[in-house]
């Protein structure tokens, strides 16, 4: 696996991707130790629901008790962003996982068998790709009824076609290779040829790039939550925390930035989370694209 070693060395050498790796480790740490960093109050039923300190609308400034302050409705911002990290990983990993499985299955069916199967699967992807993604996701969420589950379903529905296409292309590239022919010649089943020979030799770059799309998935989920189509009110979710601040972007006269914490903090978490994945993605693209590497 010297390939992997080479790749990791490249990633650590590049300051941008190194920054991405460090930020991701911090987020992973926050997600894993959320119960210790922001312990839920005694007798709290659902850890993902942000505890409230009263019901007044006006956000409260950061204090000893609420180190990031409280947002509209007295939801504790610190608790929200810490547990929101868990929600983010949850949404991102689940959606990308499902989408990759669907993409690999349909993509290899289309690429390996070709013909009618290929034609049907590709025409179906055409249909899904004929919508601007967020708009289709919004329609699906509205039809299913707003919830975090609907958001995840919608994001899966809108994103599987691109992966199916990429993987189909990968398979097409190796389909005519000699080793595929050879394994078919010694009587290996189609399933075995695809699983043992075609996929392992073609899809790693796609898999790596796809897993780095977790950032993009989380960004889209946050946007839907911000629009009020995602998690139920009070759920630890960065997009929703940002939307709570919508009415508080302008402070009282003479103190325009009074509620800065409610506006900026949740957004900064989204930004850095997505940024970390994209920093890695950018570095990977250079490593995987030999045409650019040569120059």
């Amino acid at each position: 696996m010297s390939d992997w070693k080479f790749m990791v060395r490249q990633l650590v050498k590049n300051p941008l991707s190194l920054a991405g790796i460090i930020i991701l480790f911090i987020f992973a740490f926050i997600a894993i130790f959320a119960p210790l960093i922001a312990p839920p109050p005694e007798g709290h039923l659902d850890n993902y629901m942000i505890p409230r300190d009263g019901y007044s609308a006006t956000p409260k400034l950061p204090s000893e008790e609420h180190i990031f302050g409280t947002t509209e409705g007295q939801y504790d911002i610190f608790y929200g962003v810490i547990w929101g990290t868990r929600s983010a990983f949850h949404v991102g990993l689940l959606v990308i996982g499902i989408v990759l499985v669907v993409g690999i299955v349909l993509g290899s069916l289309a690429g390996y068998f070709g013909g009618v199967i290929d034609e049907i699967i590709m025409r179906i992807t055409d249909v899904f790709l004929a919508f601007p993604a967020l708009i289709l996701a919004m329609a699906i969420v509205a039809a299913l009824g707003p919830s975090l589950k609907s958001v995840m379903i919608a994001l899966c529905v809108v994103s599987w076609p691109s992966y199916a296409r990429l993987i189909r292309g990968d398979i097409l590239q190796v389909r005519e290779e000699d080793y595929i022919e050879a394994s078919r010649g010694i009587g290996a089943s189609n399933f075995r040829v695809v699983m043992r020979h075609a996929l392992p030799n073609s899809i790693y770059p796609t898999l790596v790039m796809a897993s780095l799309d977790i950032g993009a998935v989380v960004l889209a989920a946050a946007a839907l939550s911000f629009l009020g189509l995602g998690a139920p009110e009070g759920y630890a979710d960065w997009g929703q925390l940002t939307s709570f601040a919508r009415n508080w972007i302008v402070g009282p006269s003479g103190d325009p930035f009074r509620y800065w914490f409610a506006v900026t903090i949740p957004g900064l978490f989204i930004l850095f989370f997505v940024l970390a994945w994209n920093l890695l993605g950018d570095a990977f693209r250079d490593i995987l694209d030999p045409r650019l590497a040569r120059r």
Partner: protein, 348 residues
């Protein structure tokens, strides 16, 4: 194959896609019971009593294909249902909100294209120098920015800190009254253009003032996208033999970069303009929502949070048809720009 037959062939290829799109949209409505679907056509609370009648008229209890046929003939006659949010048919709602969105697009598109292409080719010409690294970091940031958050930050500074400097909405109240008064003719409902046609400087200034922040919010992500694409495309074309020839001829670096390299590097950028359009439509929903800039994106958002399914699906259908047509135009344009593209030929 000549261009005309290519276009005709492409138009035929649209049929299965649009068929699939309508089946899909209609399939979503079939998730609802006949009563719920009948409610999509109801225009007032009194009509609620007529639901059994509506179910019968529209055949909402018929088998899937019969209903699909009925629905399609309704769609073709322009009946996409009733938009509860604004109290008019969905089709009329789309047309009445479209000018605002068009206005946003008119200002955003050139910014995306020119800034993206300019920065991208500069970055390529300065590969691995500070300018290149700087734009790369900028692009990754722009790509990662939650645009809804960026919009709030911009409002916090330019509306809150600089009190009322760059406000939300399309126009301030005084200018809104001017625009809706009898003396002001609304030729296009695009405020800036109407203001110019009416020779009304005050309205023009106010409209521009309200456009600055939404346009910035809408362009950031797309500029980053175009910039990165332009950079790699430019690097690719700078490595070509004809660049070497041009340099060997003794042409100045400026002519080599601007004329020989950039023109060829533009081709991949043209092919993704379809994606840029889709990205912009996605962004329009968020941007118009934050700035209460009442275009189709704002209307779609209002419809979505009030679970007005007819409007949301009508909006999705409209966008998909538009997107498909944009892609068609892009493909045709592509054959004009790059003569090497063989029409209908098979790729080796």
């Amino acid at each position: 194959m000549e261009l005309r037959s290519y276009i005709i062939r492409r138009l035929f290829l649209l049929i299965p896609v649009l068929f699939g799109v309508t089946i899909f949209i209609f399939g979503i409505t079939m998730l609802f019971s006949p009563i719920e679907r009948a409610a999509l056509y109801v225009t007032s609370s009194r009509q609620m009593l007529n639901i059994p009648l509506i179910i019968e008229t529209y055949g909402l209890d018929q088998p899937f294909w019969v209903q699909y046929g009925n629905w399609m003939s309704q769609v073709f006659s322009g009946n996409l249902g009733w938009s509860k949010v604004v109290g008019m048919p969905v089709w009329d709602a789309i047309w009445s909100f479209l000018p605002a969105t068009l206005e946003l697009a008119i200002f955003t598109t050139p910014i995306i294209i020119f800034t993206g292409i300019f920065l991208g080719s500069r970055a390529a010409a300065h590969k691995d120098r500070p300018l290149d690294h700087g734009t790369r970091v900028m692009a990754i940031f722009g790509w990662s920015l939650p645009t809804f958050w960026l919009g709030l930050l911009l409002l916090m500074v330019f509306y809150g800190y600089f009190t009322g400097l760059l406000p939300p909405h399309r126009l301030g109240i005084p200018m809104d009254m001017v625009v809706n008064s009898a003396e002001f003719t609304r030729y296009t409902h695009i405020n800036t253009i109407d203001a110019i046609l009416n020779l009304n400087g005050a309205v023009l200034l106010d409209a521009l003032r309200h456009l600055i922040l939404p346009v910035i919010t809408l362009s950031v992500t797309q500029v980053a996208f175009i910039m990165r694409l332009m950079r790699s495309s430019m690097l690719e074309s700078l490595g070509k033999g004809y660049i070497l020839t041009a340099r060997a001829k003794g042409l100045s670096e400026r002519v080599v970069v601007n004329k020989h390299a950039r023109r060829n590097a533009l081709i991949p950028v043209i092919t993704v303009s379809g994606y840029v359009f889709a990205g912009m439509m996605n962004g329009v929903v968020i941007t118009e929502t934050i700035f209460t800039f009442k275009g189709i994106g704002w209307w779609a958002w209002q419809s979505a949070i009030r679970l007005d399914i007819a409007s949301v699906l009508g909006f999705a259908l409209f966008n998909s048809v538009l997107f498909v047509l944009v892609n068609l135009v892009v493909d045709i344009l592509y054959t004009r720009v790059d003569p090497r593209v063989r029409l209908g030929g098979t790729v080796q």
